[in-house]
């Protein structure tokens, strides 16, 4: 463990440290552009130069390894002059279009300029004009003039995404970032380059011009796109989710996530979100009347219909299909309800082969299994002694009238596909209830449909494929006005099956799971 001194502070560094990594762990800021903690260093922007005793020249902190007894100074006059010079050089050919740049407010170039230079430019010559608004691929627009050629994006694609789709071409100040001729930048991890770009040269088509960065509020969350469960930050303003970014998590996703997880955003604000309970008086008759009802009225109606369908047999003729997008809390209440009510028709949607016709996976972040919480729900069921039947078996049970009432619980991902495939049999059920975020099949084909919040609108836990318990909080409110939260909806459903369940919040459920079942501690 080399002992070094930075600006008079004794620091015990690690043998693998560079000056910059040792300094940043000790809370000493050394400004930089091309350095990124998760990428191989390039040492090319020259912003991180510091004075090291016994070295006549300034050294780049990002690429200089520490050694025993090293004495480093990060803000001498010489260092300050060098930094100000780098900033001046970086800006001479920069378009300075911050007022219309998406990066403004979270731009290291802007921030470092104010902190380490704030000088007026001495450059009076003609700037290089390069190309703007280049359509780099399906997700990203590139502005060559803003690019400071730090090669973070190039190195990310090379070292992390392992698909070197980006290169720097030409020479000197004509240098530009480019894809190979005619090729699109279409890698499933492309949007990470937008995050790590230290300027607004790479912008996300999904976020471009939508919202200024400083209006965004951040909530920590988990990505529901697959069984990896990357840590995320959901950024929103006025109850609209504008973007989903990776949150640093060394055990799972580092500083990155896939594009699909980010673009999952589109499901949150999609037009067919449910906003109120919907009741049909006869779902098999196309001309039947569909009405939106209050929650109380809806539960009363559902209770009556269930009673008339199930008669005195209780829940024996009721079947439930769980979505792997349910939290462990939600799944717990559902499982307990149907188990105690005596149903043996309990099934879990399998997204193991992908959803939405999307079955891409890799050995980096994207799992083949597209269910965020299959592991958690299976664990719960095991502990409770519940054996899931196959979703197909549930459909046959409906087809043979062994099951007369069906409940679909959870978001439509995977559920819709299942419904379409088994429609004929499922439709034989006398009563279908959906608890769903989106008004599409099966919710749109049910006798009753209840709005159900998405993960970003509620609190809970997922368990990822590596058995890691992942907590998430509500970032925004459900689009359904005055909606009770998912836990309350499920408790009322339980009461319709004569099972008493009076949780008021996910936290209470989680505590019971922890304390009584000793799971997910």
């Amino acid at each position: 463990m080399p002992n070094i001194i930075i600006d008079g502070n004794q620091i015990e560094a690690m043998a693998t440290d560079t000056i910059l990594s040792a300094a940043s762990r000790a809370g000493i800021e050394i400004p930089h552009f091309c350095y990124h903690p998760e990428l191989q260093y390039a040492g090319s922007c020259r912003m991180c130069m510091v004075e090291v005793e016994k070295s006549p020249k300034l050294l780049t902190a990002c690429s200089t390894m520490v050694s025993e007894g090293m004495i480093v100074r990060t803000s001498t006059e010489k260092v300050k002059k060098a930094r100000a010079a780098v900033l001046e050089f970086l800006l001479i050919n920069h378009p300075l279009d911050c007022p219309i740049c998406d990066k403004a407010g979270e731009c290291p170039l802007q921030d470092n300029y104010y902190k380490y230079s704030a000088r007026e430019s001495r450059y009076e010559e003609e700037k290089w004009h390069k190309r703007k608004k280049i359509d780099l691929g399906p997700t990203i627009t590139h502005d060559e003039e803003r690019c400071i050629l730090c090669t973070r994006c190039v190195r990310f694609m090379q070292d992390i995404a392992r698909s070197p789709q980006l290169v720097v071409t030409r020479r000197g100040s004509k240098n530009t970032l480019s894809t190979y001729p005619g090729a699109a930048f279409d890698n499933p991890y492309s949007l990470n380059t937008v995050d790590i770009c230290p300027v607004g040269a790479l912008t996300s088509k999904d976020f471009r011009f939508k919202c200024r960065a400083w209006y965004l509020k951040s909530s920590r969350s988990v990505c529901p796109f697959c069984a990896t469960g990357c840590s995320t930050v959901i950024q929103h303003d006025q109850n609209v989710v504008h973007r989903i970014l990776p949150d640093k998590n060394e055990k799972i996703n580092g500083s990155f996530m896939c594009d699909y997880g980010r673009l999952f955003r589109k499901h949150i604000s999609s037009e067919n979100r449910m906003t109120a309970p919907v009741i049909k008086n006869n779902r098999k008759d196309a001309s039947s009347i569909t009405t939106e009802e209050s929650y109380d009225k809806a539960f009363t109606l559902i209770g009556e219909r269930l009673a008339s369908v199930l008669k005195n047999d209780g829940a024996k003729q009721a079947g439930i299909l769980l979505s792997p997008y349910l939290s462990v809390e939600e799944a717990y209440i559902i499982l307990k309800t149907f188990y105690e009510a005596g149903s043996s028709h309990i099934a879990l949607i399998d997204c193991g082969e992908g959803i939405d016709g999307f079955n891409f996976s890799d050995d980096y972040l994207i799992s083949k299994d597209k269910s965020p919480n299959k592991t958690g729900i299976l664990e719960l069921a095991k502990k409770m002694g519940i054996n899931f039947i196959k979703p197909e078996a549930l459909a046959s049970a409906a087809g043979t009238k062994k099951v007369r009432a069906l409940v679909f619980a959870g978001p439509p991902f995977g559920m819709s596909e299942y419904y379409e495939k088994n429609k004929a049999e499922l439709d034989s059920a006398d009563f279908i209830l959906s608890l769903c975020s989106h008004f599409q099949a099966p919710a749109s084909r049910s006798d009753a449909a209840m709005p159900f919040s998405l993960w970003c609108e509620s609190e809970g836990h997922f368990v990822n494929k590596r058995n890691m318990v992942r907590h998430y909080c509500a970032a925004v409110c459900s689009p359904a006005k005055d909606a009770p939260d998912n836990i309350q909806v499920l408790c009322r459903l339980a009461s319709l099956f004569k099972v008493k369940m009076d949780y008021r919040s996910p936290v209470e459920v989680y505590n019971d799971i922890k304390n009584q079942m000793h799971l997910f501690e």
């Binding site: 090319s44 020259r46 010079a85 001046e88 290089w128 020479r171 100040s173």
Partner: protein, 413 residues
């Protein structure tokens, strides 16, 4: 004076193997293989005081001794025949007129360092040089001078030629390595130094063509013989490529330590048309200009460094009284702006800025403050970057202004 590297230049068919053999060629490598240990070879070269002729004047024997003797990965020799420095055209003659001298130098260096594969990186425009070296290598393979068991001894060596694609920066040693590996030619961060991890991650020696061409004679005649030529610490001869305003431009092999006056006035017949000399650039375009008053400076590594310039590549450019220094300065900066690889901020942006300012002044659009602005911008470009191309732009720029400020002031408002 005895010619060392150019001794065969005037022979008929000098480039052919038989000519080279007739003149005692390939005796030095045979001597190494049969009676010298690799360490002895390095010792002899150290004793000779030979310094690199590519630019920096680094002691060659010492460079070789930095390479670890034991290595789990192959070691390489990369021969720098990129010859991109403006005003430099001497390696070309070795390549075209005496390729076997270079090949023998490569063989000796490889043997000394324990290298089994060497690459000759030849500047793309040197088509004839490329073909000549290529054919010479072929002759050697046919004779058993290359490949397995060279000269019948238990030593294997392969030599490949590689053509560059017209980038000055590929003459910088790590830019050359990147380019040889098939990547974009741009210098690498050091450390690691090539001697530790260079070409294909193996320990690598990079030497200039002329440097290696001295080696056979040093082995044949001994390090002491070589060190007696020239001046102390600046031993031997070198190929001076003289261009610009002189009566007899060309490549001349002369002892290190000859003064600029003697070279320009006695060897090259003085300034063209009998004009007066305004100044001279002593070692390729990157070397800061010197004035006519400095003509008595010896053209060796240490004397030129002391005078604030450098011996560089040995390309001497004479500038006559009617030349415009601001114009030369503008053309010089244009060159570096065009050739910067662009990875370092100061070099990418600075070279272009300096070139814009010099051009503005030269075209009569400059202001007085631009002159000092150039000096300040240049000071921000020096000692800050991955390679020294940035310095190579800044240093001559500063010298142009410091030594000929009045010419710039006469052009600005």
């Amino acid at each position: 004076m005895e010619l060392i590297v150019s001794k065969n230049f005037n022979k008929k068919d000098s480039y052919k193997l038989e000519t080279y053999l007739a003149g005692g060629g390939y005796e030095a490598i045979k001597k190494c293989l049969s009676s010298m240990k690799p360490a002895d070879v390095i010792e002899e070269v150290k004793k000779s005081g030979l310094r690199g002729r590519g630019g920096a004047g680094f002691p060659t024997g010492m460079k070789w001794s930095f390479v670890p003797k034991e290595s789990s990965v192959p070691k390489y020799l990369a021969v720098n025949a990129d010859e991109g420095e403006p005003g430099t055209f001497k390696d070309r003659l070795v390549l075209e007129l005496d390729p076997h001298l270079l090949l023998e130098g490569i063989m000796i260096a490889s043997y000394a360092v324990g290298i089994g594969t060497a690459y000759v990186y030849i500047r793309g425009e040197y088509k004839k040089a490329f073909d000549t070296v290529h054919d010479a290598i072929k002759e050697c393979y046919q004779k058993g001078f290359l490949g397995e068991n060279i000269f019948g001894k238990n030593y294997k060596l392969d030599i490949h030629v590689h053509a560059g694609a017209g980038a000055y920066i590929c003459g910088e040693e790590t830019g050359l390595i990147e380019s040889l590996e098939g990547r974009r030619g741009q210098p690498r961060l050091k450390p690691p130094f090539p001697a530790v991890s260079g070409l294909f991650m193996g320990p690598t020696v990079i030497n200039n063509v002329e440097t290696l061409a001295f080696v056979p004679s040093i082995i044949n005649k001994g390090g002491e013989w070589f060190s007696a030529i020239g001046t102390p610490k600046n031993s031997g001869t070198r190929l001076f490529g003289v261009s610009g305003s002189v009566e007899k431009p060309g490549v001349y092999e002369l002892e290190l330590g000859i003064t600029a006056r003697k070279l320009i006035y006695e060897i090259c017949g003085g300034v063209k048309g009998g004009k007066k000399l305004k100044g001279f650039i002593p070692g390729g375009l990157s070397a800061p200009i010197m004035t006519a008053e400095e003509l008595d400076t010896p053209l060796d590594f240490d004397s030129l460094a002391k005078a604030g310039s450098m011996a560089g590549s040995g390309g001497v450019i004479a500038i006559s009284e009617d030349a415009s220094i601001p114009k030369i300065a503008a053309r010089t900066a244009d060159f570096y702006a065009h050739e910067s690889c662009g990875q370092c901020t100061q070099c990418r942006e600075g070279t272009r800025w300096v070139s814009q300012l010099f051009n503005k002044i030269y075209q009569g659009r400059g202001k007085k403050k631009d002159i000092d602005l150039i000096l300040d911008v240049c000071s921000n470009m020096m000692g800050q970057t991955i390679c020294v191309l940035s310095d190579a732009c800044a240093m001559p720029s500063i010298a142009f202004i410091k030594k000929f400020r009045h010419e710039f002031e006469a052009l600005v408002k």
